[in-house]
């Protein structure tokens, strides 16, 4: 199948998948309790509560409620967030940008460091660097993210004071506009070096915390597939042509080793979305994850639904991107089979 046709087909399937996901999550949240809580205050009488239920159609059967919710979503109305005391649609963009900035930073750290470590260890199989990266990798895969984050927080923020928490130092940002909501981009657009450094500085601890586990997984995958590829005949054939070892590795072995590794990278994207919740709480990062955590505690169903919908879109798009890279790397891959 042509790559273009495949992308179009997957994009058509996207809304259908989302519809399925939203039905399941909608049912689950409604089973957990009525969303009326976010509209209530202590002084309300039972009649007033009933009125509110009627106003928001909460007295109707579940499928009808779902239909109302869906109609709202298609019109850009995602409901009222009790946690934020504002419409979801109004709060969402800024929090989305915060989470994306953190996740992208973590993904860049994880992919770059993971591939580098994996290559380094794979080429020096069973030598010292390989053993050291193995230790890093095993600890990365087994240390709980929240614990690792708290350790970093205690050491580098509380004790050493090298890195800040939160997202920005307020006085620096007073004069800087937020056209994109990504602080690093906003700082570049405003041409402010201090603001850019501030944005990056705040990203260090949370993105390391979030990316550490993924580094481990990517590095181990890269190492083992590189070792396997280095034993293939085509590697010797490349050497027999007179290629220097640098090119044998770069052009031949590593390219093939990336094929299975890219699949793993795709899976770690979901891992990052899970981890973002803990990382945002630990480092007081004003993103979707922290919002979601409070929403779950407070029964803020509109927020939960939006978060799940968003994560699903992100996951499906990430998978599509991985498929495309996969097909680009390995010409034998037939997309859509």
């Amino acid at each position: 199948m042509q790559l273009r046709d495949y992308i179009i087909r997957r994009l058509i399937a996207l809304p259908i998948l989302l519809l399925g996901v939203s039905i399941i999550v909608f049912s689950l949240t409604r089973i957990a309790g009525s969303p009326v809580g976010v509209y209530l205050s202590h002084e309300m009488s039972p009649e007033e509560v009933l009125q509110i239920e009627q106003r928001y159609n909460l007295d109707k059967p579940l499928p009808v409620q779902y239909a109302y919710w869906l109609r709202g979503v298609t019109q850009g109305d995602f409901g009222w967030s009790g946690v934020a005391s504002a419409p979801v649609a109004e709060v969402f963009p800024a929090k989305f940008a915060a989470t994306m900035e953190l996740s992208v930073a973590a993904a860049v750290v994880a992919v770059a460091l993971g591939l580098w470590l994996g290559t380094y260890a794979g080429v020096r199989r069973n030598k010292m660097p390989d053993h050291i990266t193995r230790i890093v990798a095993v600890s990365g895969a087994s240390l709980p993210l929240f614990w690792f984050g708290i350790v970093l927080l205690i050491v580098f923020w509380a004790n050493l004071g090298w890195f800040p928490v939160g997202r920005s130092t307020n006085d620096i940002w007073e004069s800087i506009a937020h056209p994109t909501g990504f602080y690093t981009l906003d700082a570049i657009l405003a041409g402010s070096w201090t603001a850019l450094m501030d944005a990056l500085w705040h990203l260090v601890l949370p993105s390391i915390t979030l990316g550490f586990g993924a580094v481990a997984i990517i590095a181990r995958m890269m190492r083992s597939s590189l070792i396997e590829e280095l034993q293939q005949d085509y590697v010797d054939a490349a050497r027999a042509k007179g290629l220097p070892e640098r090119l044998v590795l770069k052009r031949h072995a590593r390219r093939n080793a990336l094929v299975p590794t890219v699949t793993v990278i795709g899976l770690t994207i979901a891992f990052l979305m899970q981890g973002a919740i803990a990382a945002e709480i630990i480092f007081r990062w004003p993103g979707l994850g922290r919002w979601m955590a409070s929403a779950v505690v407070r029964g803020d169903q509109a927020t939960i639904m939006t978060y799940v919908l968003f994560t699903s879109v992100l996951f499906l798009v990430a998978n599509l991107v991985v498929d495309i890279i996969y097909a680009k790397l390995d010409p034998r891959v037939r997309l859509g089979d």
Binding site: D233, Y234, A237, A240, K241, L243, R255
Partner: protein
């Protein structure tokens, strides 16, 4: 480590008409059970322009011997335990420019003059005046210059020896980029005296030494892009010509396809085109048809033979298939358990075999039920090569074994001109090798 007797008489055994000579080659492998003597004192010469067959049962060290020429051995666990592989690179004949003339005997190539004595003859070149390199000792850089240019290898399974993620053109082109970048630049009309960023970038692009900035500049900066494209075109022309020479139809289309889109026979043609791209002096063909359909095997063999004859290259042809060896080889070396036990003209080996192992091999008519690499008529199998005792390696399986055979180790000595055998039946007083360490 012991040095075999023949090593000291190198000047005499290395006749001017040999392109390479292997002396006392030992390649061992470290393993849990001990030191595997995979190749343990191999001696033979490869003559100019000949096809030398290397035969023997599976595991006797044929591939390891072949790979030693290009130093394509995993070290560790491999150990280059001793000996030498002397090689005389050739250059295009100055008298005829490669067309073939009386001076070069029609082959179009002549030995490269020895850089130490400029062809006068000195100890470095063993008095021959031709550049003589020990392939086991040359620097890695020098070895890379030889690989693919002066010595090339054709692998057994072209399906595995081609990179699945690169196009045929991208893979074949690498040979030219590594060894012919000067010609490519010249063909693209780039003056060798030019300096500056453009010329530097073009030279790096034509030699696979390009940096990211070179690639970016070549993609975005129109004047450089145009010139990089003409280098690309010169490269494509060479790739297409190389593929065309192996009778691949539509070379320009094949260049753009991936290995999995071609048949096994086509892939082996690509491998052959790649191996012969730079007119190597020596081609190591390690069972080049074993992985192919029976129907295409003969055609691939004919192709190798034709192209070899045209170039005057020498070939080491590694095979299990004695009938093919008999048909295409000028001389044959029979290997057993890491040694050459008999070597001679194809006629001598097939019509007058002297070593009991060779006789066994020839008597073993392979049937369809014989597993690949097994020989029906000789009972037993190749002995363990871990720390071998100083006795004839074939003693366990030999019908004519006698006292001398288990006391020491026979070495190759002549029974007829050009026909050497390592067996005490032929040489009751044969010089013995020192005990293996």
């Amino acid at each position: 480590m012991s040095i075999s007797k023949t090593d000291t008489t190198g000047a005499q055994t290395v006749a001017p008409a040999t392109i390479a000579s292997v002396r006392g080659l030992k390649v061992h492998f470290r393993s849990k059970a001990g030191r595997v003597h995979a190749v343990d004192g191999v001696d033979f010469d490869v003559r100019d322009g000949e096809t030398l067959g290397l035969v023997g049962e599976t595991g006797c060290g044929k591939s390891v011997t072949g790979r030693a020429f290009l130093r394509l051995l995993p070290v560790p666990p491999g150990i280059l335990a001793g000996g030498s592989v002397m090689f005389r690179p050739q250059t295009s004949c100055g008298g005829c420019g490669g067309e073939g003339c009386a001076q070069c005997g029609g082959s179009g190539r002549r030995p490269t003059p020895c850089p130490t004595c400029r062809g006068q003859g000195c100890p470095d070149c063993q008095g021959t005046g031709a550049e003589t390199l020990d392939l086991l000792k040359v620097s890695d850089k020098q070895m890379r210059g030889i690989r693919g240019d002066r010595i090339a290898m054709i692998f057994q399974d072209p399906g595995k020896a081609l990179n699945p993620t690169l196009t045929i053109g991208e893979q074949l082109g690498e040979v030219f980029l590594q060894h012919r970048s000067v010609d490519l630049l010249e063909e693209a009309g780039i003056d060798s005296g030019e300096s500056g960023f453009q010329a530097g970038a073009l030279r790096r692009l034509a030699g696979q030494r390009d940096r990211r900035t070179d690639r970016m500049a070549a993609a975005l900066w129109p004047p450089l892009r145009r010139r990089a494209q003409s280098v690309r075109q010169a490269l494509d022309n060479r790739i297409a010509a190389a593929l065309g020479e192996t009778q691949i139809p539509n070379p320009r289309n094949i260049m753009r396809s991936y290995p999995h889109e071609l048949s096994g026979g086509m892939r082996q043609r690509v491998m052959i085109a790649q191996a012969l791209a730079c007119d190597p002096d020596l081609i190591i063909a390690d069972e080049p048809t074993t992985a192919l359909d029976v129907t295409v095997q003969a055609r691939i063999l004919d192709l190798i033979g034709q192209l070899q004859a045209k170039r005057g290259s020498s070939v080491i042809y590694i095979s299990h298939d004695l009938s093919v060896v008999r048909r295409i080889c000028d001389r044959v070396a029979v290997m057993y358990a890491g040694r050459v036990v008999e070597i001679g003209e194809t006629d001598q080996i097939f019509n007058d075999p002297r070593h009991p192992y060779t006789k066994g091999l020839l008597a073993a008519v392979p049937t369809t039920r014989t597993p690949r690499g097994k020989l029906a008529a000789i009972p037993g199998s190749v002995p363990e090569l871990v720390d071998p005792k100083p006795s004839c390696r074939f003693a366990d399986r030999c019908a004519q074994v006698h006292a001398a055979c288990t006391a020491s180790d026979p070495i190759l000595s002549a029974v007829n001109p050009g026909h050497d055998v390592a067996c005490f039946l032929e040489h009751p007083t044969s010089p013995k090798t020192e005990a293996a360490e």
